[in-house]
């Protein structure tokens, strides 16, 4: 039997490993028997935990607790915002948005991005000149490249034109400081399991006083904005992970930079640039298909992805990289995303596997680089 290689998990943008504080909070809340809507002592204890968690979550993104809708995750949070705000408005969205946003407004007008991945603000300004009130949907950080859109500048343009701005911050919250007011967003969606919390919880933060219709009706929970018994253990873990993540994961930037230097030295090209998340890089290897790279790295014990996790197994060309004008290279890029607990040794392990793979799959790319 072959010796199983040490696993190196570098697919944090698909799902972050659980933070220890989140683990503890989940374990404690799993032993609470009550329903937060019940009025007896067990219910009140559950309610207290729910509201304390909500306060932590709200404070982290600069919102009031009453303006937080807790739900099942980032996809649902995006859907609540877009379904709630889009009636009577035309929808504009960036070309590199996540499928959760793209699918929520299939007829949206698409805003171009620069080759580096950032939003073309001139394209937004021009699109806002169009008729009728608009809802603009932009992600704060891209899930495949980590590129940050200039949200505050986009918000100023939106508000000058009476447009609402929804921001999908699923990849950003917990990794970089995010403040609803500073961003100027009307709604902000984020997800627990992208920041070291558990899967099964997410939140939509609303600008002060913004009303929104429910997507899931019934029961009157979340001030009538989202029915269903709250997922208490997941929500408690969500808040604990946020509290533990503090100012974010800036400490990962040097690791990520070293990983990029090592990869480019053997032929990789980094897709996207400008302001980026500290933990993410998107590496293209000319001539080597992304799925082939992911399989090769998987066999070497290195877990990365060819893009978003959602489309499960079926690797299609990344719409993100295509929108950045990468052409054929868009099919040759993998996403490497460092978890909050990434180590130097994991970067070393990745680089060893990557160099071996690059030499085998794309010797031409490696030669070009070494000749340059």
């Amino acid at each position: 039997m072959q010796h199983a290689p040490q696993e190196i998990y570098l697919d944090a943008n698909a799902s972050e490993p659980l933070r220890p504080a989140a683990q503890r909070a989940i374990l404690e809340s799993l032993t609470l028997p009550g329903n937060p809507s019940s009025i007896h002592a067990a219910g009140r204890a559950a309610r207290r935990l729910l509201e304390d968690s909500r306060t932590v979550i709200a404070r982290t993104v600069g919102a009031a607790p009453a303006d937080i809708i807790l739900c099942s995750g980032g996809t649902e949070a995006n859907a609540i915002a877009i379904a709630g705000l889009s009636p009577g408005r035309r929808v504009l969205m960036g070309a590199t948005e996540h499928d959760a946003v793209r699918a929520a407004a299939p007829g949206a007008e698409i805003l171009l991005v620069h080759p580096q991945g950032g939003l073309d603000l001139a394209a937004l300004a021009a699109a806002l000149e169009g008729k009728g009130p608009a809802l603009v949907c932009l992600m704060l950080a891209n899930n495949e490249t980590g590129v940050l859109h200039p949200i505050a500048a986009a918000a100023a343009l939106c508000h000058a034109r009476g447009a609402l701005l929804h921001v999908d911050a699923a990849q950003a919250v917990g990794r970089i400081p995010v403040d609803l007011g500073e961003l100027g967003a009307d709604t902000l969606a984020f997800s627990a399991h992208k920041l070291g919390g558990p899967k099964g919880a997410g939140a939509l933060a609303l600008a002060s006083g913004l009303a929104i219709a429910p997507l899931i009706a019934g029961g009157g929970q979340e001030r009538g904005r989202r029915g269903g018994t709250p997922a208490l253990p997941a929500i408690a873990g969500f808040a604990a992970a946020l509290a533990e993540s503090g100012e974010g994961v800036a400490q990962l930037a040097p690791l990520r930079d070293r990983l990029e230097q090592g990869a480019t030295a053997v032929g990789a090209l980094v897709c996207g640039g400008g302001a980026r998340l500290p933990n993410t890089t998107c590496l293209a290897l000319a001539g080597a298909r992304a799925e082939t790279q992911v399989i090769n790295l998987d066999l070497a014990g290195v877990r990365v992805s060819a893009g978003a996790a959602c489309s499960s197994g079926k690797v299609t060309q990344s719409h993100v990289l295509a929108a950045m004008g990468l052409g054929a290279l868009a099919s040759c890029a993998i996403r490497v995303s460092l978890p909050w607990n990434a180590t130097d040794a994991q970067v070393d392990g990745f680089l060893a596997a990557y160099a071996e793979m690059a030499a085998r799959l794309a010797p031409a790319a490696a030669r070009t680089i070494s000749a340059a």
Partner: protein
């Protein structure tokens, strides 16, 4: 604290915690990242859980969609069936006055989309009059939705007969099984259900996960409530929460194996509770008939007192006036008023829900606490 509110939520079974815990600790990975080994392990765990959920209700694994809970599953079934059908001939959606709020609101919300929700009244027992349903079905009907077990009174509908009538009229049948699954033996195929909603935290699993059964043959079609990454066959996007799914699966496995013996044990505790209270509280009345009813449920009227005062007088007892969702509401229970109770009688009613972790000693202590509190609150009547 004696917990007798097992219809609001149940404590996680320790075996469920044990099954979930590895997925909360050592295992990162997104179950949809099937490109790599960590993702595939999570995906395998999710699929094993799906098979356990299916087995509990006699479905096949491919007929189970994960949701965040029964509320979402009910919304998805009712709105999803209507929106998939769109503007065709069948626009009527029939449900009953004693359904959970989320079913009633989902049906009512569809009026704004051109559908015709019809809420049937119920008899004082909680039963739907088959003649009423027959009359309602004379208008071409898209969907009927009736719960298997009521969340306040525990009353069990005759789902098989209701479903046959609906099918004979060409309608599809959805049932909210949140209170019934894991408590009584259910077979969606035998019952002829086209869709059915489940909740993990009502059967000793975790909060934050549920499922919708969607029949394959003949195929039930639904439109998603929201879209995105296309998980759960496109019917429900969003990352499936692996640990919660694993816990739900384990809860269903335990329920499938232990349900029959547990129902007998809990029914005996329920009868002991009723006998004990009945002997000490004159005029005590049961809402709904003694049978058919969930083994663990009692909905009781305490004459001359307010149920909220009784709850306040028994701080060591976790009990409720009715549905947890609306327990802080001042309005009387819509379920009890649908049975014909006056607002005053509804306000004098308590729901007692006995569960897996209750003992005979719990029941005896609850009898003492409730009858003592009742005597304090209604001394004149208690002495009479």
């Amino acid at each position: 604290m004696i917990y007798l509110d097992n219809q609001a939520t149940t404590a996680c079974d320790p075996r469920v915690l044990d099954a979930m815990w590895p997925w909360f600790s050592a295992q990162p990975g997104n179950p949809h990242s099937t490109e790599h080994a960590i993702g595939r392990r999570a995906a395998d765990a999710v699929e094993a859980a799906r098979a356990e959920i299916a087995a509990l209700i006699g479905a096949s694994p491919g007929e189970i969609l994960f949701t965040s809970g029964a509320t979402e599953a009910n919304n998805l079934a009712i709105k999803g069936a209507a929106r998939f059908a769109g503007s065709r001939e069948r626009r009527r959606i029939i449900t009953a006055a004693t359904e959970h709020k989320c079913v009633l609101e989902s049906a009512r919300d569809l009026a704004a989309e051109g559908f015709e929700p019809l809420i049937l009244p119920v008899a004082p027992s909680g039963a739907i009059d088959h003649a009423d349903l027959g009359l309602a079905l004379q208008t071409p009907t898209l969907l009927v939705s009736f719960m298997a077990a009521n969340n306040e009174t525990g009353f069990l509908h005759d789902l098989g007969a209701l479903g046959r009538a609906a099918h004979a009229a060409g309608a599809r049948v959805h049932s909210d099984l949140a209170q019934a699954a894991g408590k009584l033996s259910l077979d969606v195929t035998g019952l002829g259900l086209d869709a059915a909603s489940l909740s993990a935290h009502k059967l000793y699993g975790p909060k934050g996960i549920g499922a919708l059964y969607v029949r394959r043959r003949p195929r039930m079609r639904i439109a998603p409530l929201f879209s995105g990454g296309g998980q759960e066959r496109g019917a429900r996007s969003g990352t499936v929460p692996t640990p919660l799914a694993v816990g739900f699966g384990e809860a269903c496995r335990i329920a499938r194996l232990e349900l029959a013996a547990e129902a007998t044990r809990i029914a005996a505790l329920r009868d002991r509770l009723l006998r004990g209270l009945d002997a000490r509280i004159p005029g005590l009345a049961l809402n709904g008939p003694p049978a058919p009813r969930l083994a663990g449920n009692l909905s009781l009227r305490f004459p001359g007192v307010r149920a909220l005062d009784l709850i306040a007088a028994c701080p060591e007892l976790a009990i409720s006036t009715g549905s947890a969702c609306t327990s802080a509401d001042i309005a009387p229970s819509h379920v009890l008023t649908a049975l014909g109770l006056t607002a005053g009688a509804a306000a004098a009613s308590l729901r007692l829900g006995i569960g897996r972790f209750n003992s005979a000693a719990d029941i005896d202590a609850a009898i003492d606490m409730l009858s003592a509190a009742y005597a304090r609150l209604a001394p004149a009547r208690a002495e009479a």
